[in-house]
Assembly symmetry: C2
Homo-oligomer: 199 residues x 2
Amino acid sequence: MSRKPMVRPGGRSARVQEAVHAAVRELLAEVGRERLTVPMVASRAGVTPSTVYRRWGDLQELLSDVAVEHLRPETEPDDHGALPADMTAWAEQFIDEMSSPAGRAYIRDALLGDPDGSNAGQCSTYAAEQIDVIIARAAERGETVPELETVIDAVVAPIMYRILFRPTELDAPYARRLVASVLGGRQSAASQRRQRLIG
Amino acid sequence: MSRKPMVRPGGRSARVQEAVHAAVRELLAEVGRERLTVPMVASRAGVTPSTVYRRWGDLQELLSDVAVEHLRPETEPDDHGALPADMTAWAEQFIDEMSSPAGRAYIRDALLGDPDGSNAGQCSTYAAEQIDVIIARAAERGETVPELETVIDAVVAPIMYRILFRPTELDAPYARRLVASVLGGRQSAASQRRQRLIG
């Protein structure tokens, strides 16, 4: 958000952000979203309410920032040694996390207090970065790889669309069907090869 | 929303809803979203503010209902005589409407004031109904048709995802690529046949 100043790691601005985010996380757990207020957050974080308003505008924008923090992946995607396995494992975990009650609340918060779309864009960037890692590893192994944007359209978009607009089918078989649709013949080929190696 | 009473067409409840929705539409145009309040809407609609609060909860839920009304398609999809042409024309128009500034504002409003997801679900149902008409016509003509949910995943989801999270590529060529991805060989086959008929 344009309102936010540049944050230098370790600077005062970064310390304020960390204290305020921590206060929100604690208070969400203690009093819940419905009863949360900016003065309550400010008091817990040891800053004035006007510091919070100046930096975040309102409670919804603050909750949006905290939600995006929560949606940031903590680790790189697991390496299973082949593109179909990597992509399937990632999609299954993505569905799991995003369609959980906590995941849905964070996605909603991220969108709601985000007038300029920068936090929603950040969520998409997190997913794109993970897929990029998977594609780069596969390319390194000499596998044929799809375009990043094709995977976004075929795997990420349907999952997020169904979470927000059409809450059905959000399970592991659905994740596998989406991945199969984008990897096409390559996936069947790979599983056949595995089958031959096993059999 | 569970708060809303059943609305009988022509009944008092339906007249209140129509008056309140009309007041919102007028006031959005006159004073804008930022300055809109429930008392202002109630006064214009000739009802008490408590009537509005009782029925809609708050301004965001009211704006969500009005947005869903706006997102309801007014006509059936055009009939161009073949599945690829029908689906492409529909997808191009869907991108056009949804990614316009008004479309984006309605999608946002529909999602924001929608704690139980029923309005978001209604938006998805509108798109599904239009695609159903296109698929049914094609089946009637003897064309091979995709599943409705496959079209939702391959065409509707990427468009809505990019509008909300990843605002790129929202143009007619993108709509055509999405449709081609779901109709696959059938589309090329159809255009080849047309080419032969023309040539």
